[in-house]
Subunit: 323 residues, 2 copies
């Protein structure tokens, strides 16, 4: 193994190459939203995310109870993206010496509220001193049929839940000193960034009906995360710009709303491909969940955006990268 | 819930009170070396530790391959303390922008070596930018019979594996600029701090024979960790000072070796209680593993050290505390 640069992708791929598993029980190792281990007839799903102060969040933007909720919910989103249901969580909590005890209390209460909403139990973890607040949540879930990133095929439709780009606008508003309580549009957008809702119930319904051929959650933006599906499925994709779901609030606040929809991270919606013959089953779910068909998978290994005039432009990933 | 101070113990107990589980499958929640969930007839063990640069380690002391090994092995030690066998690991890795790619390569190789030694597979995780190197390892294990901290009873003998206090001396030597290669004693002691060996095999043998009534791993020092057994088991303990296992190296380097044995952290040995009638079974294991009987549990809820002259002195916890 040789790492020539500190590109996140290269580090992950070096780790992936170093830890090729021989265990038959390992259904999905490094390289998807979560790992999956089959035990008996059950599939266990494991995921973990690191959130570090001033890298992933600022305490001046994020009230502790919402930060706690987000730290859990982004992991639940990973479990949802595998088509699973979360059951347990572990919390690694690094706290600065001088942190306010009210902050810690609010954090715990926030975590409790999010855990209760999704029926998740916090069962352990570790607490440590740390210069920057450090949150490392591990979630354990279960799933009957597992949906990976690799099952997509040319011709499959491409669908997405909810609306896109709101979270990026939310971060921008916070950076521009906007806060909750300044009106309906701003509140809607800020909430999408500060308190994202994990699509656990939709993920479960999709997996129960065995509909998606591939699925990811949108943490880094569609241009990055669709890239994961395409890479793992060995295909490309077309996206129809005018099919991208944009919220009324984003439309009214942000001229570049389509750019935000394509490249904005942290929306935590589900992006999935569905074989065309299964699209009929979607109408039932659409009564409950907002789902948009935004394009399709193609055999050419590139991602294109088609504008309303029918012009085709290659989409390069501009999503959030840590390195 | 009300947190009045930021004492680690109080935060853990506030979290523990907030997350009382109703799930029948949860055998052991917050408050032991690891959490245990029963699924069918199998017990799954979950543990996670946070290691943060300049809080838990210094890069000038810890070569990356040994740091990686330690980050995994201290979690394996937690699984061992439940009487389980580790199978899978997840890695949360926070890296500074300017870190050397050789450092990352050595880290991955170290992790691989430790994982292979214990048959553990790395199956997922998260990579992030971070000002300080941040390591959050989660380990998943299995165990037939689970050994908690709470089963000890007055009259049970108190046993410990290996030798005690070496790791603390190792840290001290590093702080005094000693490095590997300065002689047998120093090398032995430094290795005990830099590359601790998890007692997985002993933990499994003890649990297979259903011998310990309670068990912990020694991460914070005997005065703290024995306190956990006593608190959870509702008893106290006597320790005979001259029975404490001290290595030849520590004895020759450190006058206060008994203090180090009682209060030094990071030894990652197993401390366990055994009902007297089961002590006979220990002789077989003693042929393979160094095990010392250092005292016994008592009904009075205090911990005493008895010196060679028979004088009794209460032991107050002086182990490492993060807050």
């Amino acid at each position: 193994m040789k790492i020539s640069s500190l590109n996140e992708k290269e580090i992950i791929s070096a780790i992936r190459d170093s830890f090729v598993s021989s265990k038959k029980s390992l259904i999905q190792g490094i390289g998807d939203d979560a790992a999956v281990v089959r035990i008996g007839k059950r599939n266990f799903i494991y995921t973990k995310d690191l959130l570090i102060q001033d890298v992933h969040f600022k305490i001046s933007f994020h009230p502790p109870h919402l930060l706690a909720r987000k730290s859990l919910n982004i992991n639940l989103s990973d479990v949802a993206a595998m088509g699973g249901v979360p059951s347990y969580a572990l919390l690694g909590l690094g706290l600065p010496k001088k942190i306010d005890s009210q902050w810690v209390e609010d954090f715990i209460n926030g975590l409790k509220s999010a855990a209760q909403e999704e029926g998740v139990n916090l069962i352990g973890g570790d607490i440590s001193r740390s210069k920057k607040i450090t949150l490392s949540v591990t979630v354990i879930g279960e799933g009957d049929s597992i949906i990976t990133r690799s099952g997509g095929a040319p011709g499959d439709n491409l669908c997405v839940s909810g609306t896109l780009g709101d979270a990026k606008e939310g971060l921008l508003l916070l950076q521009r000193k906007h806060r909750m309580g300044e009106g309906r549009e701003i509140d809607f957008i800020l909430k999408r960034f500060l308190d994202p809702f994990p699509q656990v119930s939709l993920g479960r319904e999709l997996s129960r009906r065995n509909m998606p051929s591939s699925m990811v959650d949108l943490s880094d933006g569609i241009s990055v995360d669709l890239g994961h599906i395409c890479e793992e499925s060995g295909c490309g994709a077309l996206i129809y710009k005018n099919k991208l779901p944009i919220s009324w609030a984003l439309r009214s606040l942000q001229k570049k709303c389509f750019d935000f929809a394509l490249h904005g991270g942290e929306d935590y919606q589900l992006l999935f491909s569905i074989p065309k013959e299964k699209m009929g089953h979607l109408s039932e779910l659409r009564k409950i969940y907002p789902i948009s068909t935004i394009g399709e998978l193609i055999s050419e290994k590139k991602i294109y955006v088609i504008d309303p005039q029918g012009r085709k432009k290659e989409l390069k990933s501009k999503g959030y990268r840590h390195f």
